[in-house]
Amino acid sequence: MELWNAIMERGVVGTAAELLHELFMLIFGSELVAGILMKCVGIGAILGLISVAAIVFTYGERKVCAFMQVRIGPNRVGGRYGLLQPIADMLKLMSKEDIIPEGCDRVVWALGPMLLFVPTALIYAFFPFDKGVALADVNVGIFLMLAISSQAVLPFLISGYASNSKYAFIGGMRTVAQMLSYEAPMIFSLLGVVMLSGSMRMCDIVDAQSQQLWFILMQPIAFVVFVISATAETNRVPFDLVEGEAEIVAGPFAEYSGMRWALFFLAEYANLLSVSILTTVFFLGGWNGPFLPGAVWFGLKVLAMVFVFMWFRWTFPRTRIDQMLAFSWKILLPLALANVLFTGVGIYARQWF
């Protein structure tokens, strides 16, 4: 009962962290050492979360896809529901031959997938998973997070360039066009959220939603713009022009095999999880919710958003590159800017009432 009260007050993760901190204090007896160890545990937890998410999402995606296409999906490995399918996939990937294409820019080619994973994993440090549970709660959290996540463009481009293959190169060029143009509406759609909450600190934004309404109700246009541009930023259907299997084989990762290719895959699912977390934090009220502990609410909302993104993927056909770019610059960006204007007028008007 005491534990339950502590969980309701400080959250599941917060309570676990506190217990672990007490354990470290008991063993080492020094605040400094315990603090450093706690940071290491936090980093390990985030990396573990990303890996587990990748495993669960590969299985989930195949099941969701099968459900949409009236099939059964994985049903052989590990019982009736194919629960061990991701493990089999992983073993297959790890045992594959590592093919290095001839005439590639060797060092840059090898760096590509590794560098891609860095910004993808780094932004998890800013996410508020529960009340007071964030590895780095920075003043300009949103801005720093967007800045770091925008660095994911470069690894795609250099892997495309270094593969010394036409398809990979076209894919790399498409990445730059797509990810840079969808960054603009994404950032401007978040501006409305920042204006309403009056802070760029992520925890403050969630707190603001517990006092006001959830921002999906106050910023519906921003929500739609954000979800669409997030789909484009993660390179998922209907905006998977970067991979475009039917057009350019697999884009920047056409020349990668085995674990190198798996790193791209891991980054893709880490991105899927992070945009779902971002949508939850900015628009769905983060950890706020009645009865259950905050972390449970957070997890439920994030999984719901993951399902929505998978739903998109198996519902819409792929767009054409020119349609996609025109959509970003001619529709999403003006919408996002208009939203900023209306939000400003609304905030100004509210002073008089």
Partner: protein, 192 residues
């Protein structure tokens, strides 16, 4: 059990007492500064000396990120974020430009080194620039704050949208003109 714990506590306390003679936080600060400053210089040399223009551009990104880390380490998070967002994003476009403008059979010699006279000229211009910057830094009336500002973004926004709103808008117009000019140059003005 208690004996083992006591041993561990004693060991940790002894290790920490070793560090007591030094000012550990400022040592760490200096270490971080020299690490990133050194890396930035190293990558900056890479920009100049790499033969392949794409490698040079990548090296440039690494330099920018090291400078951003320097900003972050002195508590200027906003500056660091701006540095990463603006320069990192710009470099991706720069690489695309470089590839499109210099694409040949062999990228290995796309960033050739010039003769001695060019080196001397470049060194001279750089030296003059550094002298000018030093003069500005010494004689300007602006001084850095005594301690980190903390949340700098609201103050910046206030200044930019009230006192400095005119220069801000003028720069925006200038950038717009530059963008339109670039499009006209790239597409040709008389295209129907």
């Amino acid at each position: 059990m208690d004996a083992v714990l006591g041993q561990v506590h004693g060991l940790v306390a002894w290790a920490l007492s070793l560090a007591n003679d030094y000012d550990v936080p400022s040592l760490i600060e200096a270490g971080v500064f020299f690490l990133f400053a050194g890396l930035a210089l190293l990558f900056a040399c890479g920009v100049v000396f790499f033969r392949n223009v794409v490698h040079s551009a990548l090296s440039l990104t690494a330099t920018f990120i090291c400078v951003a880390c320097l900003y972050l380490s002195i508590g200027a998070e906003f500056m660091g974020a701006v540095q990463i967002l603006v320069y990192g994003g710009a470099v991706a476009v720069l690489i695309v430009m470089a590839i499109m403008l210099t694409r040949r059979d062999d990228m290995g010699h796309s960033n050739p080194s010039r003769g001695l006279i060019h080196h001397v000229m470049a060194a001279g211009v750089t030296g003059l620039f550094l002298l000018g910057m030093a003069a500005v830094a010494i004689f300007s009336p602006f001084r850095s704050a005594a301690q980190p500002l903390g949340d700098a973004a609201p103050g910046l926004a206030d200044l930019m949208l009230t006192h400095y709103v005119l220069p801000f808008e003028v720069i925006a117009v200038l950038l717009l003109i530059a963008m339109i000019g670039a499009i006209v140059l790239a597409k040709g003005a008389d295209e129907r």
